[in-house]
């Protein structure tokens, strides 16, 4: 028994899995009791996954920079989404580039914006919070000024909306719900790529090493600056891809897509931390971030049905905040009680 409790407390992935089951069961019970405004079933859960695409991708982007250690964080991801989205709008919507080239250019542009962050943080030595705060302001401003505050929603852009539709899976598709296309075109490739990068390449091992102890890593002869720089480039690259997804979802390249309201950086950092990424660097797994995203997405989807009108979106804030504070306090507790790190 105590062993089970210990696993639950120290293994973030086990805890998240239990929480997801608890959330889903809770809403199924509520649904059966008729307390929800619409049915909470597998079809609804599957449709809700469309919101998981940008969230999980940016969560993975944050994970890469947080892993790199020395206070790594990226406040600018939302602003990169805005600015890269505008570039995509120009390339695909105005200049008529082929889609694959426009996506490639947008991802490359995102990587370039991430490289500015990485250069400032890794080679000049700016604290990551400051450097990305500065670029957040700069990119946000440029995204709005670049097209005189106007969104781009020409015909090709509007037709892009089709990438956020749901599709029937081949072979066994008729037995399971339709799944949003963005899951396969953007999310899964990113998840697999980041997992391979972290778990199956020398770069991944170096990233964990410099995040755990960058002085030791330097004495071991690792290229610390180069490794940290690349983490920010990859984060920018993923943000560039998210920009394409976002333009598709809105059917319009909006200059404030990634920064309106609370922006995208805050939820992304929340997802990463909730997924067990240690803010001090060196600890974190892809599976944790993916499970944290599923937890938040399905929780939010249920909350939306449990309340009438805009109360639902308000209670989503409560849920996100409460879950984050709870997870953070739990991390502190397990670190003290079991000495180890919660991974």
């Amino acid at each position: 028994m105590s062993r089970a409790v210990r696993i639950l407390l120290t293994q973030r992935i086990a805890l998240l899995a239990v929480l997801i089951v608890a959330v889903v069961v809770t809403f199924f019970v509520n649904d059966a009791g008729g307390y929800l405004t619409a049915p909470y079933d597998f079809d609804y859960m599957s449709a809700a996954l469309i919101t998981a695409v940008p969230l999980a991708m940016l969560g993975l982007a944050e994970m890469l920079v947080i892993l790199s250690g020395r206070g790594g964080i990226d406040l600018s991801v939302g602003a990169i989404v805005s600015l890269a989205g505008m570039v995509f709008g120009f390339a695909y919507g105005e200049w008529g580039w082929p889609l694959w080239l426009a996506i490639l250019a947008t991802a490359g542009f995102g990587a370039l914006l991430g490289a500015v962050n990485g250069f400032l943080v890794s080679y000049i030595g700016f604290p990551a919070l400051i450097a990305t705060l500065a670029t957040f302001y700069a990119y946000k401003s440029l995204a709005i000024v670049i097209n005189d505050q106007q969104p781009i929603s020409t015909e090709p852009i509007q037709e892009l909306f089709s990438i956020s539709r749901s599709v029937e899976l081949p072979l066994f598709g008729e037995y399971v719900p339709d799944v949003p296309l963005g899951i396969f075109t953007f999310l899964l490739p990113t998840v697999v790529a980041v997992w391979v990068l972290l778990a199956r390449t020398a770069y991944g091992r170096r990233l964990y090493a410099i995040g755990t102890n960058d002085v030791a890593a330097r004495w071991a002869g690792l290229p610390v600056k180069d490794t940290r720089f690349k983490a920010y480039v990859y984060a920018g690259l993923i943000s560039g891809l998210v920009a394409v997804v976002t333009v598709g979802q809105f059917a319009s390249a909006r200059p404030d897509a990634g920064v309106s309201g609370n922006g995208m950086a805050l939820p992304a950092i929340t997802i990463a931390v909730l997924g067990g990424v240690a803010i001090t660097g060196g600890i974190g797994r892809v599976a944790g971030v993916v499970l944290a995203t599923l937890l938040i997405v399905w929780l939010n989807a249920g909350i939306l049905l449990a309340f009438v009108g805009n109360e639902g979106s308000q209670y989503q804030l409560l849920a996100l905040g409460a879950v984050l504070v709870f997870a953070a306090l739990l991390n502190g507790l397990t670190n003290r009680r079991y000495g180890g790190s919660a991974s």
Binding site: F136, S141, V145, L266, Q314, L317, L320, G321, V325, G332
Partner: protein, 331 residues
């Protein structure tokens, strides 16, 4: 020990009253104002400078608390949400209970202090990094604020708080009260941080919390007090925000203010790593950011362009600090 030697030691213990960063900031602001005065004659008039000072006040005032928080090695990204809670609560009290000026200010400050207490307790005793806790409480505060809003906006706010506003009621001898209060509180905080043991403790904690604890500093209580102080100042600043606005308060109040405050603090030369900083610099940083925003508008440029300059200022200010630190190490 002779008086001369004692004076020498004193000099070494206390940092210089004005840092290099502050001198540079004063220079930059003077140059900027001069340039704006030349290019737009309307800039150096009371009608332009007074609103500039009023608009600087809320960010600079919260910046005092944020500076102390950052000196202890923490950060508070929940001030945007806290502003929303305090201002909607106060606005509702003004409209529905028709409370007076003193009650409104007390209510707002008390609410802010309570929110700061929540942050402080979680950070000081939960032993979790401040940025994570305050990301979490930012969401909780926004939830609270939106619940108080109910749906839509708060309308018909009476002019009870005009004492802090942009109008003629908000000025004495041409100086806006909001700015005056901010300057006085900044000066008090400057003296407190520099000349009292309690103030020095914040620097000790930011330099090395473990060493500070061994030296007898009650670290947890000190850290807690920094967040409570920030909350109290958020409460007062929220009154400024209501007074500056129209008679309608909408749900976007406070959004993004946490980053504006942090920007002012780091432009002012406070180290985000803790242990070093000054509230005077923060006031100047806030004034610089607001001057740029005002200048961009008066030059007829797109107002969002001022954010680009804020980003550049952060890079330049912190970059200069990094170079100085490197020079110190090499000496």
């Amino acid at each position: 020990m002779t008086a001369v030697a004692e004076a020498k030691i004193r000099k070494r213990v206390l940092p210089s009253p004005v840092t290099g960063q502050e001198v540079v900031l004063v220079g930059v602001i003077v140059v900027l104002w001069a340039a704006l005065a030349v290019s737009t004659p309307a800039f150096l008039t009371a009608g332009s400078i007074q609103p500039l000072l009023v608009a600087t006040a809320p960010v600079a005032l919260i910046g005092v608390g944020m500076t102390i928080v950052i000196i202890t090695g923490g950060i508070d990204v929940s001030v945007g949400g806290a502003i929303m809670v305090c201002s909607v609560l106060t606005a509702k009290a003004l409209v529905e209970a028709e409370v007076g000026l003193a009650v409104a200010v007390l209510l707002s400050v008390a609410a802010g202090g309570l929110l700061g207490l929540v942050n402080g307790v979680l950070i000081a005793y939960g032993r979790v990094h401040a940025i994570i806790i305050t990301f979490g409480t930012a969401n909780l505060f926004m939830f609270l604020g939106l619940r108080i809003f109910g749906s839509g906006t708060v309308n018909g706010i009476p002019g009870t708080l005009a004492f802090f506003g942009r109008g003629p009621d908000g000025r004495t001898l041409g100086v806006p009260h909001a700015f005056l209060i901010t300057v006085l509180l900044t000066a008090a905080a400057w003296w407190w941080l520099r000349h009292t043991a309690g103030g020095r403790h914040f620097f000790a904690i930011g330099g090395d919390a473990q060493a500070a604890r061994l030296a007898g500093v009650r670290v947890q209580r000190r850290v807690l007090s920094a967040y409570v102080l920030t909350g109290l100042l958020v409460g007062l600043a929220s009154c400024f925000v209501i007074a500056q606005g129209t008679s309608t308060l909408d749900q976007s109040v406070g959004a993004g203010k946490e980053l504006a405050v942090i920007a002012a603090v780091v432009i002012g030369g406070t180290s985000i790593m803790g242990g070093r900083g000054s509230v005077l610099g923060t006031l100047l940083g806030a004034l610089l950011v607001q001057s740029v925003a005002s200048g961009v508008t008066q030059l007829g440029w797109r107002s969002q362009l001022s954010d680009l300059f804020v980003g550049i200022f952060i890079i330049v200010a912190v970059g200069a600090d990094l170079l100085r630190a490197r020079a110190r190490r090499n000496r």
